[in-house]
Symmetry: C2
Subunit: 233 residues, 2 copies
């Protein structure tokens, strides 16, 4: 199937929503927990979480706040704090239905049967059912004028994760945590770890099938100048 920009624009709306929301591949599955100034909690599923940096530890996610009330964004703007919680396999259906448009006086914690957890004197509610719980402090909102979305940036101020899921070197086993991924708007996937490779130093790149003959020499030449690969440190 080959679609052009014109074909995509001419698609019916539901097909376009499903297709384009799925086209990036698997997406992280997290619940964002907030509380408003009156003490009403809110919980919403997000698949747009993105790593921005490790030092300081910054994460971003995308909201479209202008078309309908977005309680998550409003609460973050009011309080400055939110939580990000990995959705485990056992709770995908409950998590999915947090995306319904509940009125502000109904908390998705209640309607979708999640347990608010207040830990470390943090202002926003964590989700007790989630194996990874991250306490976030709001840093900055960056408007994306192209389509009136907003990149919300926060800093990690608390991190709760089971000891057994983290190695001494800081690697996290997402399969062991039963963390899921989201495809499109409404499909959920379990994860099975199939590979882990070393940091990609130029001199450690394997000799893949039929590379040009000159490559081995090039690797030698550049070996001394190569540092640790640092994607989005």
């Amino acid at each position: 199937m080959h679609l052009t920009a014109d074909d995509i624009r001419a698609s019916n709306r539901i097909k376009r929503l499903n297709l384009i929301n799925a086209i990036t591949g698997i997406k992280p599955a997290n619940l964002i927990g907030t509380i408003n100034q009156s003490g009403h909690t809110n919980l919403a599923i997000f698949s747009s979480l993105v790593h921005l940096g490790s030092n300081p530890a910054l994460l971003g996610f995308i909201v479209r706040p202008t078309t309908v009330p977005r309680h998550t964004y409003q609460n973050i703007m009011h309080t400055g704090y939110y939580t990000i919680n990995h959705i485990p396999q056992a709770h995908i259906e409950q998590a999915h239905y947090t995306s319904a448009k509940f009125p502000a006086h109904l908390s998705e914690f209640d309607t979708c049967a999640f347990t608010p957890s207040y830990r470390a004197n943090f202002k926003a509610p964590f989700v007790a059912e989630c194996p990874v719980q991250i306490g976030m402090q709001f840093v900055q909102s960056i408007p994306i004028p192209t389509n009136n979305t907003i990149l919300v940036i926060g800093k990690i101020v608390h991190l709760f994760i089971p000891d057994a899921a983290v190695t001494a070197a800081g690697h996290i086993n997402l399969e062991q945590l039963t963390t899921v991924g989201i495809g499109g708007l409404n499909s959920y996937y379990a994860l099975k770890k199939i590979g882990q490779f070393d940091y990609a130093h130029l001199h450690t790149v394997p000799n893949f099938a039929s590379p040009p003959k000159t490559l081995a020499k090039s690797f030698d030449t550049h070996e001394a100048t190569i540092g640790l690969s640092k994607p989005n440190e």
Copy 2:
């Protein structure tokens, strides 16, 4: 394990990189293909792709261009075009090693044994080994001053995907495509579809375990006002 912002900052660098890059959960696994003005191709693995909108169809990804040469970003700035290609299970090792810092005169297509594919008269090379191939037109770069990264926004202008992997409603089966996900900096996960749920209308929310008794009535009350849930349309 409970880590505070201070604990994260005080961690050794490698552990912090591994931990914080993994903490968002599973991430999409894509190769971005570009070509420079001299005709040299470049291919790089990215896990920061994020959906921004479906109409127009906009995708973003994060680069950190200021610390070391970033050929992908330079090429996009020069030509205005790039491709995004889903990494299949069979090619995770080759894809991983595109993250080594190859000098500009070596193409990762050659060193990592991928096949550049020029289709639909598009300026940037697609990756023949990838089941989903997306042709992108650069729209805008948005600086993220907090940590000197950049959100690169592009519009989908071509989309190639196997017919069998897309339903009439536009749902994509990522398991069937053998698309993988990335955990942290160097772990790869296969996907197994475990659930698909309807759009979350308020009146279709299941009665989850022990909800407050008043809820059923509230759903009825609001039923008439509820529209289609549209996360990040």
